[in-house]
């Protein structure tokens, strides 16, 4: 009996010493595999975000039903191959039944200021196209400027560079990307929401000429982040495919089915104590719209312009319970017919002003309950209003 105890003791000691040595020398194999996917040491990251909305429109003299929608549920899968190379993907379920890929790109870091990035990427224009997770912004719905002029979530397949300069508090992105589908047998653009219907989203997209997207962020002033974005290029047209190079008629027709876009964006975000504010300005100058509209029968404006300013205050500021309660107000103007070309008259109902008043209650950094009321106005008269409630999460 005594002998047995001694043997067991020796075996146990041996086991523990081997186990301890294995732990000490082998940091990356079985030890990590045993831990869950979400372990900090794991190469695989899983995350996601979701937006669940309740919208009740109000229009004078009409009765309207409300809508309840899982507007989007996005699952992120990221994989880190090594210290320098990673892959990020986001799979989106929109309105429960539509499946999209929102991002799917590979990144390789040569140096912090020089990363090569390629795949399906977000066009870095404005604030919300890149930071579109509901807990990152006020209001149940995204700003309309970032829907009608910057067509969030705007993403295309491309390749380019990104990086940061720590000394200067700057970061940049510079991509060559595929452009909008402006014509594939029928015109895609229209006056009410500009380029929105032309997004190709990397789904069997086609290209007749590449576009360029660039953005610079500056964050050297405490609490403030400034951004400037630009997007330049032509829209894509299926008429260029198989075009006889000597056929001037066909070339002229194809040229009428494409437009040139020069979009500029400026934005700012500021936070100090409980106070927070943000603003954005976008202008898109579009050329060849008279020809495009004649050819396709569309009503696309030759300039789209919009901006918003928003301010909020965290009334739980200073409480330190991890929660935030932020009433906010936003004033937003956007006009997709700021200018028109040719015989197209400016449609006054596209000259819109939205005022949004509401609040967000952050129960945690990544979980928010939101409620707001939006007043919609146009240069042609009031367009009613809408009450919104929503749940936003991000993990």
């Amino acid at each position: 009996m005594k002998r047995n105890t001694k043997t067991i003791l020796m075996a146990a000691l041996l086991f523990f010493s081997v186990a301890a040595m294995a732990q000490n020398t082998d940091n990356n194999s079985e030890f990590n595999a045993a831990e869950s996917l979400l372990n900090s040491g794991s190469n695989l990251s899983i995350g996601g975000y979701a937006q669940i909305d309740y919208n009740q429109p109000f229009v004078d003299g009409e009765r309207r039903n409300s809508t309840l929608d899982i507007h989007r549920l996005v699952l992120l899968f990221g994989y880190r191959f090594n210290e320098k190379t990673s892959f990020v993907s986001e799979i989106e379920l929109e309105h429960v039944q539509e499946v999209y890929v929102e991002q799917a790109f590979m990144n390789h870091e040569f140096l912090p200021w020089l990363n090569l990035r390629g795949g399906l990427m977000l066009v870095p224009m404005g604030i919300q196209n890149e930071y579109h997770e509901p807990p990152t912004y006020n209001g149940v719905e995204r700003t309309n400027l970032d829907s009608k002029i910057v067509p969030t979530t705007w993403r295309e397949i491309g390749l380019g560079f990104a990086g940061r300069f720590d000394q200067a508090s700057l970061k940049y992105q510079l991509y060559v990307m595929n452009g909008f589908n402006g014509y594939d047998g029928a015109g895609k653009f229209r006056g009410s929401d500009g380029f929105r219907k032309g997004r190709q989203k990397g789904a069997e997209s086609f290209m007749s000429s590449p576009t360029v997207a660039a953005r610079v962020d500056y964050y050297g002033i405490r609490g403030l982040k400034l951004g400037a974005s630009t997007y330049l290029g032509k829209s894509q047209s299926s008429l260029y495919d198989g075009l006889d190079k000597d056929d001037d008629m066909a070339l002229a027709q194809a040229d009428s089915s494409a437009i040139s876009i020069a979009m500029l964006g400026l934005d700012a975000r500021y936070r100090n104590g409980g106070f927070e504010a943000r603003g954005q300005f976008n202008v898109a100058n579009v050329s060849n719209t008279a020809e495009y509209n004649d050819f396709t029968g569309a009503d696309l404006g030759s300039q789209m312009l919009g901006w918003y300013l928003e301010a909020g205050y965290d009334v739980l500021h200073g409480v330190q319970n991890g929660q935030r309660l932020v009433p906010f107000v936003r004033y937003e103007r956007y006009n997709t017919h700021a200018k028109t070309a040719g015989s197209l008259a400016e449609n006054k109902s596209f000259d819109r002003t939205d005022v949004t008043i509401g609040a967000g209650w952050w129960l945690a950094t990544g979980a928010v309950l939101k409620a707001d009321y939006q007043f919609f106005d146009t240069a042609a008269g009031s367009a009613g209003g809408q009450f919104n409630m929503g749940i936003g999460i991000w993990f």
């Binding site: 001694k6 003791l9 020796m10 000691l13 041996l14 523990f16 010493s17 081997v18 301890a20 040595m21 732990q23 000490n24 940091n27 900090s40 040491g41 990251s45 995350g47 990221g78 880190r80 210290e83 990673s86 990020v88 990144n107 912090p112 990363n115 990035r117 930071y131 990152t136 990104a162 940061r164 720590d166 000394q167 508090s169 970061k171 962020d217 964050y219 050297g220 405490r222 609490g223 982040k225 975000r269 936070r271 100090n272 104590g273 500021h317 200073g318 330190q320 950094t365």
Partner: protein, 170 residues
């Protein structure tokens, strides 16, 4: 036989006391310090592995060192924090009392949140010597890098307190 086994156990358990043996080992740490301090003369006096005492066992090693033949001793803490999905490494240099002289980001892995590597933003931690640090109050918010900024603001006080209680009084 039993004595040999106990000895083996003792050696290996002693090894476990340095679970971050491959995290900024002396040679790499000295190279990094020489770069940060813009000097060619860093003399390490002692290495301490604090990993086991840090929350979530974030790899954390401290070096007591001198440089440029000056009499003053300093601490260099190599540690890590987690952004939304990835860990990032940074270096905290303190004086012998544990008051921060500088914080610099050594390795930021994620595609997002790299804004916290800004020299200007990190300079807010200089002269910190203990007590509560509140993100958005004492340390300004940084848009687009909230998770990383919150986690470094939460972790630095923990590391400084640990440094002061376990090493400064030695």
């Amino acid at each position: 036989m039993l004595r040999i086994l106990i000895f083996v156990c003792f050696i290996s358990v002693a090894g476990v006391n340095d679970p971050a043996a491959d995290f900024y080992p002396e040679e790499k740490a000295v190279g990094q310090l020489e770069k940060s301090l813009k000097t060619k003369d860093v003399e390490v006096l002692e290495r301490f592995d604090l990993t086991a005492q840090v929350k979530n066992e974030r790899r954390t090693v401290a070096y007591q060192f001198k440089y440029d033949h000056k009499p003053a001793t300093f601490f260099a803490v190599f540690t890590e924090s987690k952004g939304r999905y990835d860990l990032f490494d940074y270096l905290i240099i303190t004086d012998k009392e544990g008051t921060i002289q500088s914080v610099s980001l050594l390795r930021y892995r994620s595609e997002h949140g790299g804004e916290i590597a800004s020299r200007k933003w990190l300079s807010q931690f200089e002269a910190y010597s203990g007590g509560r640090l509140i993100y958005g109050e004492d340390i300004s918010a940084i848009s687009g890098a909230t998770r990383s900024a919150m986690s470094i603001t939460r972790d630095i006080p923990e590391v400084i307190q640990l440094l002061q209680t376990s090493l400064v009084k030695k």
